[in-house]
């Protein structure tokens, strides 16, 4: 069964550094999403992406964040200058038709 994959599974970085989180969505899916879950809190929407542009973004998704689909298979989330409060589990999701979303296993980002 096709799955969303994410790399790395765990990323440790220092405050102020740039990080890129990578996702490979399910191959025939057209809608892509990033969410995050701070430890002990609910899953929060960050951004949705369709047809090579952002469809919607949350207040969290400020100028420090960007997304890109650099080729036909990858979908990336970049954080330009990480802060301590960016420490969270980041989930990528994809959807074929924009209805149900399928999630990857997540990347745990730790900012020290």
């Amino acid at each position: 069964e096709p799955e969303v994959t994410q790399t790395p599974s765990h990323q440790v970085t220092q405050m102020g550094q740039e990080v890129i989180l990578r996702c490979v969505p399910i191959s025939n899916h057209l809608y892509f999403y990033w969410y995050r879950q701070i430890l002990g809190q609910k899953v929060e929407f960050l951004v949705s992406f369709y047809n090579n542009e952002i469809s919607e973004k949350s207040e969290i998704f400020d100028d420090q964040f960007s997304v890109e689909r650099p080729d036909g298979s990858n979908f990336t989330l970049k954080i330009r200058s990480t802060k301590l409060e960016d420490s969270a589990m980041y989930f990528c999701a994809s959807s074929e038709s924009g209805s149900e979303q399928y999630f990857g296993p997540g990347t745990r980002l730790t900012v020290t």
Binding site: V4, Y31, Y33, Y35, Q41, K42, V43, E44, F45, S48, Y50, S55, E56, S58, F91, A93, S95, S97, G98, S99, E100, Q101, Y102, F103, G104, P105, G106
Partner: protein, 116 residues
């Protein structure tokens, strides 16, 4: 504002017992509703979804959920719980635009423990 409430933070049931996890939502239009399950160290797995039509929907692993518009609820049920069902369960409402779900709003989750 759109929101999802899961009133039960933690529930413990005995193996073989029935289960009902509560979910209430606040959304102005007809909602797209979802239940996801998260096992420790795993991602979110889609259990079932409601878009329209029959208000009782069947999902994977023997789960079902019933949409009740009058109560703004979408409770998850299972007739007989297995030890492998121990996990965290999230209810979510999908906010749509142009026919596509642009984002999911999640509840805080219910952690299910299963006693032997």
């Amino acid at each position: 504002a759109q929101s999802v409430t899961q009133p039960d933070i933690h529930i413990t049931v005995s193996e073989g017992a029935s289960l009902e996890l509560r979910c209430n939502y606040s959304y102005g239009a007809t909602p797209y509703l979802f239940w996801y399950v998260q096992s420790p160290g795993q991602g979110l797995q889609l259990l079932l979804k409601y878009f329209s039509g029959d208000t009782l929907v069947q999902g994977i692993k023997g789960f079902e959920a019933e949409f009740k518009r009058s109560q703004s609820s979408f409770n998850l049920r299972k007739p007989s719980v297995h030890w492998s069902d121990a996990a965290e369960y999230f209810c979510a409402v999908g906010l749509t635009y142009g026919g596509a779900t642009n984002k999911l709003i999640f509840g805080t989750g219910t952690l299910l423990a299963v006693q032997p």
